[in-house]
Symmetry: C2
Subunit: 441 residues, 2 copies
Amino acid sequence: MSDPLRLAVAGLGTVGASLARIILERSDTTATLGKHSLKLQAVSARDATKDRGVDLAGIAWENDPIALAKRGDIDVFVELIGGSDGPALESVEAALRMGKSVVTANKALLAEHGNRLARLAEENGTEIAFEAAVAGGIPVIKTFREGLTGNQIERVFGILNGTCNYILTRMEDEGKPFEEILKDAQDLGYAEADPTFDIGGHDTAHKLALLTCLAFGTEISADDIYLEGIETVTLEDIRAADELGFRIKLLGVAQRTSTGVEQRVHPTMVPKSSPIARVSGVTNAVAVDTDLLGQSMFIGPGAGGNATASAVFADITDLARGDRVPTLGRNAEALKPYTRAQMRAHEGGYYIRLAVKDEVGMFARIARAMADANISLESIVQEASIGERRGDRQSQPDDVKTIVLITHQTTEAAIRKAVTVVEEDGGMVGAAQVIRIERLD
Amino acid sequence: MSDPLRLAVAGLGTVGASLARIILERSDTTATLGKHSLKLQAVSARDATKDRGVDLAGIAWENDPIALAKRGDIDVFVELIGGSDGPALESVEAALRMGKSVVTANKALLAEHGNRLARLAEENGTEIAFEAAVAGGIPVIKTFREGLTGNQIERVFGILNGTCNYILTRMEDEGKPFEEILKDAQDLGYAEADPTFDIGGHDTAHKLALLTCLAFGTEISADDIYLEGIETVTLEDIRAADELGFRIKLLGVAQRTSTGVEQRVHPTMVPKSSPIARVSGVTNAVAVDTDLLGQSMFIGPGAGGNATASAVFADITDLARGDRVPTLGRNAEALKPYTRAQMRAHEGGYYIRLAVKDEVGMFARIARAMADANISLESIVQEASIGERRGDRQSQPDDVKTIVLITHQTTEAAIRKAVTVVEEDGGMVGAAQVIRIERLD
């Protein structure tokens, strides 16, 4: 056995403390895994006096993560500070410039600066490992960077944010509206005080951007993602979905198309019979369609101190074995520029919910708008049958009817055109609700 | 970029031909993945004249795989011959003795000779990669050898044989008996002419033995697996399971217990609501419970030329990157001897189906036998309600009743004792059917 691999951990929150514990308590077994044993050499965090349930006596302490990254006696810099800029970015850059390997759980950092950091790593003969950045403890980054190398990937999709899936699952199970479940999730610690980043789909988008890069060999392009959050999903939608054989999930989807790679994050109707529809609560899932393998799916905990630390630790083990994978799966110069597919060209089925005045001919005018846009309808359901069995027609006035349409395969452009016509008709009350249906075989 | 990694492929069946195609056609893209590009240097197969849909002009041919393994101009020997002994074993040994890396899809070879081959590899400074040996193209070996290194694993379970899952799925979907579906599966190529190896659970056992070794850090012990095949599962069981909220799957399960590691392969009742219950047809799934990560599951195609070649190719990419993992996840001397947990000590719920004469007091005697063995019952269902709605009570004579019991958590020893008492009662017609229920949270 050669010299131990000397580790520096910056950030001792839930994940950092859990990681320190694993390194210290499991060094005996992990010494048998590879070339190098592991040594926790130095740490940094804001408060040196806080009790973190792990004995850090004898381990060097730095107040400044950048000083930690620059220490001459460390081989690997583990960044668990968080945030896409500031100390996280500066310390990672410092470590890479010194040729240290970097391990991070920071999706925001990589979504925003990953292309540049990957090149910086390569220039300095080192690399960044980031298993914990997507889907928590599930080894999906390893799967994409190493396990699917021979495949041409057609589509990646997943439930990448536990908070959103938790809220949607509870809305469905308990029949309570978004605001009420969100408030409860905040009280229980499943949602942040400011939930925008999760609820609005931004966190999912960051993770999707990383998966897209690995799956399609393109540069990371987190700004080119079509984005809708779950805040507009109503109980009515969830009930209509249920009656029509669907569940609503916030999916991140990246898909090869003839004009480029489509990246989108939005509430999505998935058939109840599909495996991803069964993924409930805070659980994450990533599925991939490839030419050789067909479809595979990976399900597991997407967050939590121990689950995240498990992924960080696996990255460290790879380094201890001497295993080195290019940061973004390929040498940086081999990454292609990202070409955004136009969302208007997106093809798929759609769910459209319309609140309309109870007028003679309304139905015919809606059907005509769809036909004019060349949209073929799979089903039309009137309010009478939606939620009827539950006897909970909510607060809609008597002279307003709800109509739900499910379309066959069509384009986003056609839908937008038809919906505009319907909205301008004058018979509508409020805006149309449009939710995309994802094709799952 | 250093010199190319020179590959030898022994065996050009479906998987070998697909692999050769991937190596030849995708060398441009794969050159960007790591340190070395790939070169298909030499192949061997039985028939040099057969058209395999891939152009092997300019690639050296050997009739003898052992001669192929010994060539001085190859770096990696890919064994796709099959069989646990004979040319597969001899050529792998020859390659390892020459210090070549070996990649194989051969579960039988490793289940039977893996401990010795892993040591042989280590003595010669090399290693064996075998992603394709378990669950086809799903990267589960990578997950266990590399992705879960910090975790203590409590249980591994999975649907590891596509043929069995295909038959059980069709029995359930079509309501046709085992023999009829098996015959059809044979006609369609989903089952072998001699199906014993799949149906009897032996193939599942080989794969489980490899997962157990990687998960628990113990030597491979394929002979220490409790084994029941699916040939005894009847339509009656499938229907009763359905009414009671279960599906029947052939699972391989390895579980840490106080007396050792339990390894078992048997038809298993899983709750319909569990994700693994939704895995249908030839699809495979592997789930793992660990202390840090909780439960994760990996689902995908378990067989097929392209899917298997995808896994073999990923192993080759790892080698091209210079990544080396000890064959069985740990250095050979670190593997613990396998200690078999006694099956009689197995704890779980049970499904028991009894055909009994329609006599007064029969019910009471069965309940008494269970109570005497300290078995607490969750439910007792009489024939009247089983399959009643379908009006298909099959061929049972009128004076024979079917009784189905579902027990709470108990032990295998208690069940065997109680079933013996019931079978010796004289009121039984035929033997009792006992199917274990797997606890899934």
